[in-house]
C-alpha cells in the first residue's frame, strides 16, 4: 500500500508562508495516494519558477530542467519509458510564456502526460512581473501603467488544440483539486490542469479571497457535458464574477505512444541493441 509517508521528502520548502503552492502540493500527494501511485514509477518534470520546485518536496523521481521546457523533456522521458507515470509541472510564465510552443504541440501529440500549471497570474520567482495570464491592467514593475494585453486563457487554447483533458482547479479547494489531478493522471492522453494559485507576495489582486469569492464547480450536480467542444469553449470564456473550476473538456483520441509499434511490446529502455543486426542494412548500400 502506498501511503502519504512514502511521498515524504526531507528537502526544506523554499516557498513563502501562505503560498498557494502548499495546498497544491497537498492535493498532489493526496491524489497520488488515492491512485496508489508507487513513487518509484512516477517522475515529475518541472521548469524554473516557484511551482517547479514542487518535485523536490515529494519523494519521487524528479527532473527539474529549464524554464519553459518541461513538456519536451517529459515527452522524451515518456517515449523512452512509457511505463512511467509522467507529470509535468510549472508556472504560468513557464508554461504559457516561455514554453507556449511546446504546450501547443504537446496537446496536439496527445502524449499521455499530466500537466499541472500553477497559475498565479504573475512571475513569482523573479519577483513579480506580469505573466501571460495577468489580467488586463495588472500593475507590476514591468507594467507600471498596467498590463496592456488581455489575459491569456489557457483553457480556450487547449480546447482549440483539441487537448483531450482540460481542467481548472483552485489551490483553495484541495479535495476537488486532488480529484482533478487523479482524473488527469488516469486519463489516457494529455491532461492540462490549470490551477488557480494565490501568490501572497506578488499578486495582491487575485488573492485567496478573490478566487474563493468567485470559483464554482462545474462538474458537481450539473448537466455539463465535457465531451461537447463548443460548450466547453463557451464555458471556458467565463471569467470575472464567476469562475468555473472542474473538467471543461474531455475526449478520447489515440495517444502518441499508442501509435508507435516500436514500443507496443516493451518500452525503449528495455530494448537492447546488438550492432550485428545492422549487417543486413549494410547490404542495401552495396
Amino acid at each position: 500500500m502506498v501511503t502519504l509517508e512514502d511521498f515524504h521528502s526531507d528537502d526544506p520548502i523554499a516557498w513563502c508562508p501562505g503560498c498557494g503552492n502548499f495546498s497544491i502540493l497537498k492535493a498532489l500527494k493526496k491524489a497520488l495516494v488515492d491512485i496508489q501511485q508507487p513513487p518509484n514509477e512516477l517522475i515529475i518534470v518541472s521548469g524554473i519558477g516557484q511551482a517547479p520546485k514542487t518535485p523536490h518536496y515529494l519523494r519521487c523521481n524528479c527532473f527539474n530542467g529549464l524554464h519553459g521546457r518541461t513538456l519536451p523533456v517529459a515527452t522524451g522521458i515518456k517515449l523512452a519509458n512509457h511505463k512511467l507515470t509522467v507529470l509535468a509541472q510549472g508556472g504560468d510564465g513557464d508554461g504559457y510564456g516561455e514554453g507556449g510552443n511546446h504546450f501547443l504541440h504537446a496537446m496536439r501529440r496527445n502524449i499521455n502526460i499530466t500537466y499541472l500549471v500553477h497559475n498565479n497570474q504573475v512571475y513569482g520567482l523573479t519577483k513579480g512581473q506580469a505573466s501571460p495570464t495577468s489580467e488586463y491592467g495588472f500593475v507590476t514593475k514591468t507594467t507600471p501603467r498596467g498590463a496592456r494585453n488581455p489575459a491569456f486563457n489557457p483553457l480556450l487554447l487547449a480546447i482549440a488544440c483539441d487537448c483531450s483533458f482540460v481542467a481548472r482547479g483552485f489551490a483553495g479547494e484541495i479535495e476537488h483539486l486532488a480529484a482533478l489531478i487523479k482524473k488527469g493522471i488516469q486519463h489516457k492522453g494529455f491532461a492540462l490542469i490549470d490551477i488557480l494559485q494565490p501568490c501572497v507576495s506578488f499578486n495582491r489582486v487575485n488573492t485567496f479571497k478573490w478566487y474563493s469569492d468567485r470559483v464554482y464547480k462545474i462538474d458537481v450536480n450539473s448537466q455539463y457535458d465535457a465531451a461537447d467542444r463548443i460548450n466547453a469553449f463557451e464555458k471556458a470564456q467565463e471569467w470575472g464574477d464567476k469562475i468555473p473550476i472542474g473538467v471543461f473538456y474531455r475526449i478520447q483520441r489515440p495517444t502518441l505512444e499508442d501509435q508507435i509499434p516500436a514500443i507496443a511490446e516493451k518500452p525503449l529502455v528495455a530494448q537492447q541493441t546488438d550492432p550485428a543486426v545492422f549487417s543486413e542494412l549494410l547490404e542495401t548500400f552495396k
Binding site: 519536451p72 523512452a80 529502455v269
Partner: protein, 572 residues
C-alpha cells in the same frame, strides 16, 4: 584510372538519378566512387551539379578537372565547361537546351527525342544521358542495365524496360557518333559487389543506430535533414522512435529527457538550429545527462548558404552554453570514421554523462563515399555507470551526484525499484536538491570539470599520413580529410615532402599527442573551410605551436586537392 563525370542542370531535372545509377554501377563492380553534390537552396531551377569521380583506387574528394560533362541545361554549358579536362567531352541535347558548338569534343545528343521515342516519356532523358556517358568509356553497358533493373523493379517491368531501352539508345547513339574508340579506359570490372556507396549522413545515422540509438528527435534543417530521414526510414524495422519536434529547443530537450530515462537518444541540426539548443546543452552539462548532437555545418552567419558547406562552427560549439561544463567534440573525415566516432560519441556521453557534439558539414554529409567495409565489430556499447535494480540490494536513498575521483557518479534510471533520483539544473547537493552553499558549489564545479580529465585521455591521436618525417604539414580536421590526403600525395609526387595531420577528435585537446615529430619540426599549414582558421587558432593555443600559414576557403564550396597544392606552392 580516374574519371570524373559531372552532371549539371536545374533542380528537379533528375541530376541525382543519373549520378546514382552511374555510381552504383561502378561500385558494384569494385570501383571506388566519390560524388560531390553542389546544389542551390531551391526545389526547381537554379544551377546544380553532381560530380561523380570513379577510380580503381580509393577517392575521397572531388577532382579539379572532369572528363565528362553532361549538361542538362544551357546554364551548365556556360558555367561548367571550363572544368573539362583537355580531352574532356561535353554531352548535351543541342535542340533541347538551345546550345550549339563547333568543338569536336562537344557532342550533341537528342536526349529528349530519344527519351520520347525509345523510352516513351521525356522522363527517360536521365537514362539516355546515363547510357551516353557510359558509352564514352569502355565499361560494359550490360552492367548499367542491371543496375537500372534493380533500381526500378518495384515500379514494374515496363518502367525497367523503358529505362533500359533509353540507356541503350543513348549508349548506341554515342558509340555510333564517336569517331574513335571510347576515349576513357576502364580496367576490367569485377562483379564482386562488396563495396558500399553511402553518404556521410548515412554513415552517421548507421553509426548511431548500430550504437543503440533508440530515440531521435529533430527539426528539419539542411544539411542535417538526411540523417533524420534515413533514421526515419529504418525506425520501424529497428524499433527506434523518431519524433519530429516543433522546434530545435523541443528536439534537444526531448533528447535529454529520453537519455535521462535511459534510452540512447540524439538529435542533428545545423548551426542555426544548434543556436537554439545551446541552453539545453548547458542543461545536459549541469544535470549530467548524456546527449549526442550532430551539427552539420553550413556557411553562416545566419541562414547563409543553406545548401553549401563550411567548417565555421567549431569555435561556437566549443564554447556554446553559459558557464563551464565538460563536453567532447568529434568530427569524422570519412564514413568508416563516422561509424566509429558515433559509437564513441554515445559511449563518451554515457560514460561521462555529458553532451558530445559530432561536427559534420554539408560536404561530408551529402557526399557519397565508397567504402570497402563498414565493420560493425568496431562498434562497442558502453553505457557507463548505471545501477540496475540488482545493483542496489535494498530500497535506499540514492545520491545522483555522489562525489567520486573521476567526477562521474553512478546513475540510476527513473523507474528503479529501489530508489528515486533528483536531477536539477540549479546548483545542487549530492542528492540533487537545490543548494545555495558555497562549499557544495565548489565541490560540484570541480566534480563536473574533473570529467574533462578523463575525457581528455579518451581523445585519440590525429592521423598522420604518410608516416615518417616531413618538412611540411597540412593540418586539417573533419571533412577535409580526403582532399588533404590527396593534396599531400600530389605534393609528394611533386617532390615536396608533405604530411597530413588530420584531427577527428577535437575536444578536449589531448596534449599527449603533441609530441608527434611532424608537429614540432615541420612548417605547419592549416587547411580549413572557414574564414578565420578556427582550428588553427585552437591548435596553436592548445599546443603552443604556431601555425605558419593558413589556406582558407569560405565560399561555400569544398576544396579540391589541386587548389590546395597550388596554394601550398604559393606560400612555401
Amino acid at each position: 584510372m580516374d574519371i570524373s563525370i559531372r552532371i549539371g542542370g536545374e533542380a528537379g531535372q533528375g541530376i541525382q538519378s543519373i549520378s546514382s545509377i552511374i555510381a552504383r554501377t561502378f561500385v558494384r563492380h569494385d570501383f571506388y566512387v566519390f560524388i560531390n553534390q553542389d546544389f542551390a537552396s531551391r526545389i526547381r531551377g537554379g544551377h546544380n551539379f553532381d560530380q561523380v569521380r570513379i577510380s580503381n583506387a580509393p577517392v575521397h574528394a572531388a577532382a579539379d578537372k572532369i572528363q565528362i560533362l553532361v549538361a542538362l541545361d544551357k546554364e551548365t554549358t556556360r558555367r561548367d565547361i571550363d572544368c573539362l579536362a583537355d580531352n574532356g567531352i561535353l554531352l548535351f541535347d543541342g535542340d533541347g537546351i538551345g546550345f550549339t558548338s563547333e568543338n569536336p569534343n562537344h557532342l550533341s545528343i537528342p536526349f529528349a527525342q530519344i527519351a520520347s521515342e525509345v523510352g516513351k516519356s521525356k522522363i527517360m532523358i536521365n537514362s539516355v544521358a546515363t547510357g551516353a556517358a557510359i558509352a564514352l568509356t569502355d565499361f560494359e553497358l550490360r552492367q548499367v542495365l542491371d543496375c537500372l533493373q534493380e533500381q526500378f523493379q518495384q515500379k514494374g517491368p515496363e518502367t525497367v524496360e523503358n529505362n533500359q531501352k533509353s540507356a541503350t539508345a543513348g549508349y548506341d547513339f554515342v558509340r555510333q557518333n564517336l569517331k574513335e574508340k571510347p576515349p576513357f579506359r576502364v580496367p576490367p570490372a569485377k562483379s564482386v559487389r562488396q563495396k558500399m556507396l553511402l553518404t556521410g549522413s548515412q554513415a552517421i545515422a548507421l553509426g548511431a543506430m548500430a550504437s543503440g540509438l533508440k530515440f531521435y528527435s529533430g527539426y528539419p534543417m539542411s544539411p542535417a535533414t538526411p540523417i533524420m530521414e534515413f533514421i526515419s526510414s529504418q525506425a520501424a524495422t529497428y524499433n527506434i522512435i523518431l519524433e519530429q519536434a516543433e522546434d530545435e529547443i523541443a528536439a534537444i530537450n526531448m533528447v535529454i529527457g529520453a537519455n535521462f530515462a535511459g534510452a540512447r537518444a540524439m538529435t542533428a541540426t545545423s548551426g542555426g538550429g544548434f543556436c537554439l539548443m545551446v541552453e539545453a546543452l548547458s542543461l545536459a552539462g549541469m544535470t549530467e545527462t548524456p546527449a549526442v548532437i550532430v551539427v552539420a555545418q553550413r556557411p553562416g552567419p545566419s541562414t547563409g548558404l543553406p545548401t553549401r558547406t563550411e567548417q565555421g562552427d567549431l569555435n561556437f560549439v566549443m564554447h556554446a552554453g553559459h558557464g563551464d561544463f565538460p563536453r567532447a567534440i568529434l568530427a569524422p573525415g570519412y564514413p568508416e570514421q563516422a561509424l566509429c566516432l558515433m559509437s564513441k560519441a554515445f559511449n563518451l556521453a554515457d560514460k561521462y554523462q555529458t553532451p558530445v557534439i559530432v561536427l559534420g558539414d554539408q560536404h561530408f554529409n551529402d557526399a557519397y563515399f565508397t567504402v570497402d567495409e563498414l565493420n560493425l565489430r568496431d562498434i562497442t556499447i558502453d553505457r557507463g555507470h548505471i545501477l540496475t535494480d540488482q545493483d542496489l540490494p535494498t530500497p535506499q536513498a540514492y545520491e545522483r551526484y555522489a562525489p567520486s575521483e573521476s567526477g562521474i557518479s553512478s546513475r540510476i534510471l527513473p523507474g528503479h525499484t529501489k530508489a528515486v533520483l533528483y536531477a536539477d539544473s540549479d546548483e545542487h547537493t549530492q542528492e540533487g536538491h537545490i543548494t545555495e552553499s558555497a562549499t557544495v558549489r565548489n565541490q560540484m564545479v570541480r566534480k563536473r570539470m574533473q570529467k574533462l580529465k578523463g575525457l581528455r585521455r579518451e581523445i585519440g591521436p590525429p592521423e598522420i599520413y604518410p608516416s615518417g618525417e616531413a618538412e611540411l604539414v597540412l593540418l586539417g580536421w573533419g571533412s577535409t580529410h580526403g582532399v588533404i590526403k590527396e593534396a599531400v600525395n600530389k605534393l609528394n609526387q611533386n617532390g615536396i615532402v608533405a604530411q597530413m595531420v588530420h584531427y577527428s577528435e577535437l575536444f578536449p585537446f589531448n596534449p599527449d599527442h603533441i609530441a608527434i615529430a611532424a608537429l614540432t619540426k615541420a612548417k605547419i599549414i592549416a587547411v580549413e573551410n572557414n574564414y578565420l582558421g578556427q582550428f588553427a587558432e585552437f591548435f596553436s593555443k592548445s599546443t603552443g605551436l604556431s601555425v605558419d600559414q593558413k589556406i582558407l576557403k569560405y565560399d561555400g564550396r569544398p576544396f579540391t586537392s589541386h587548389e590546395i597544392v597550388e596554394q601550398v606552392k604559393d606560400v612555401i
